[in-house]
Symmetry: C2
Subunit: 257 residues, 2 copies
């Protein structure tokens, strides 16, 4: 059927033809053609007949492009941004998240106004111009996007504050996991002060890692819980998970009593 799906399973990477990628993502073929033409997303390979063949890397780039587009950037700006080495895929996703959260707030506000408007209209048919004006103003706030400068500054600040901390965290994880595993395999009980200290540090690292954002924290937990391959790669398994959990429970119970 779809060429890239069956051919050379395992040896060669999966590829998509334009139509396939378009269908899978909900974009149009024309859009992909266009992105190719302006040099924004050119497929990393072509068949002998000249068909575009998109690889996994291309898919990743497409995601970044579409995220940035939802941030309101022009395709030119997006191309420039993606060329900069200091803009990581992760930072893009985070900007996108921030933007969506703001939009939710805005939507809530607008919904409030519209519901009030609906009440007025249902009851009296005549609505004050002021009420209307304010409502319109909120509506129009939806297409006020960030400029690329604002985004750059926003991301720069985040980096200045958090990125090096993040880096440090990333490097500390394997060591911490190893230490905990050692205690576990020695049979040290979770209530032991040594384990308690490790569990404390564990909580701190998670806090730093997620930036205190409960949404990120939740999905990080899900990630470890539901993707065994991922967890294993980090030297992590259910037994360890359980051990740390018990240590943390003990820590809370002990300190509060």
């Amino acid at each position: 059927m779809t060429a890239g799906e069956r051919k050379d399973k395992g040896t060669k990477k999966r590829t998509w033809k334009v139509g396939e990628l378009a269908k899978a993502t909900g974009t149009s073929v024309r859009t992909l053609h266009w992105y190719d033409e302006i040099g924004l997303l050119s497929p990393s390979d072509h068949s002998r007949a000249g068909y575009r063949l998109y690889g996994e890397g291309d898919v990743a780039r497409l995601q970044q492009i579409l995220s940035l587009r939802q941030l309101g950037l022009s395709l030119d700006e997006i191309r420039d941004l993606l060329a900069r080495p200091d803009v990581s895929p992760l930072s893009i996703v985070r900007m996108h998240i921030t933007r969506l959260q703001e939009q939710m707030e805005l939507t809530r506000k607008l919904l409030g106004r519209l519901e009030a408007l609906a009440s007025w209209m249902a009851a009296s048919e005549r609505v004050s111009a002021d009420e209307l004006l304010k409502t319109i103003e909120v509506m129009n706030m939806f297409d006020k996007y960030y400029t690329k400068e604002q985004l750059a500054e926003l991301e720069a600040r985040r980096q200045a504050f958090g990125e090096e901390a993040m880096q440090a965290v990333q490097e500390e994880w394997p060591a911490l996991i190893a230490k905990v595993r050692a205690e576990m395999e020695k049979g040290t009980p979770p209530e032991d002060p040594a384990v308690q200290a490790l569990a404390g540090r564990w909580a701190e690292l998670i806090e730093m890692f997620t930036g205190g954002n409960p949404g990120i924290r939740q999905s990080l937990e899900n990630l470890y819980k539901n993707e065994p391959g991922f967890a294993a790669q980090q030297g992590y398994d259910p037994a360890l998970y359980d051990y740390v959990n018990r240590a943390q429970a003990a820590r809370k119970g002990g300190s509060s009593a």
Copy 2:
């Protein structure tokens, strides 16, 4: 200062010049010019010098236009829709509300995916193409709007079901309010069976009126509470509000015990 604000206060209606309206609503002057040029929103008056002067009716129409635009309709479609007599301002606001609620759902979904993505990226740098594809798909669902046919059908169904009921409700309100007021002024206690019956009908009418939507219900209450002019117009006042509330409390307490 702004001409329309001070001149003939009370005698003539308030008007806005393009720049004023643009500033007040967050739209651009060019956009208003454009809407005029294509016959979508032409100011109801002009100054001797040829300045566009927008009145309250124009503001109301602008709100409808912008609501419909957020529904994804083209300006042509909007013009056609606004020309139809069966499309009321209220129906437009309700369609807008529905759309925004759907968007909130979508946004929540996408946020979930992006947070998962962020976790993956922060931890492993390598993300599965499938995950990315699904995320992209959700992103692209944001610009899939309704067609005007879908909207028409949606609104038609609502009308078939609810509009005549709505009409009936609208006509029943004054009578019901009058009856309750009569009882109140006679000094009938809220627990009296006659008042209880009226309170029951009262609750039913509100239910039908708001379509069971708690958001609308809430803002309707706020409307009556915070806008004395509005309430008075409906033959309604705080004393009556209190009386009905007590009757309803008695009704619930009595039936559940």
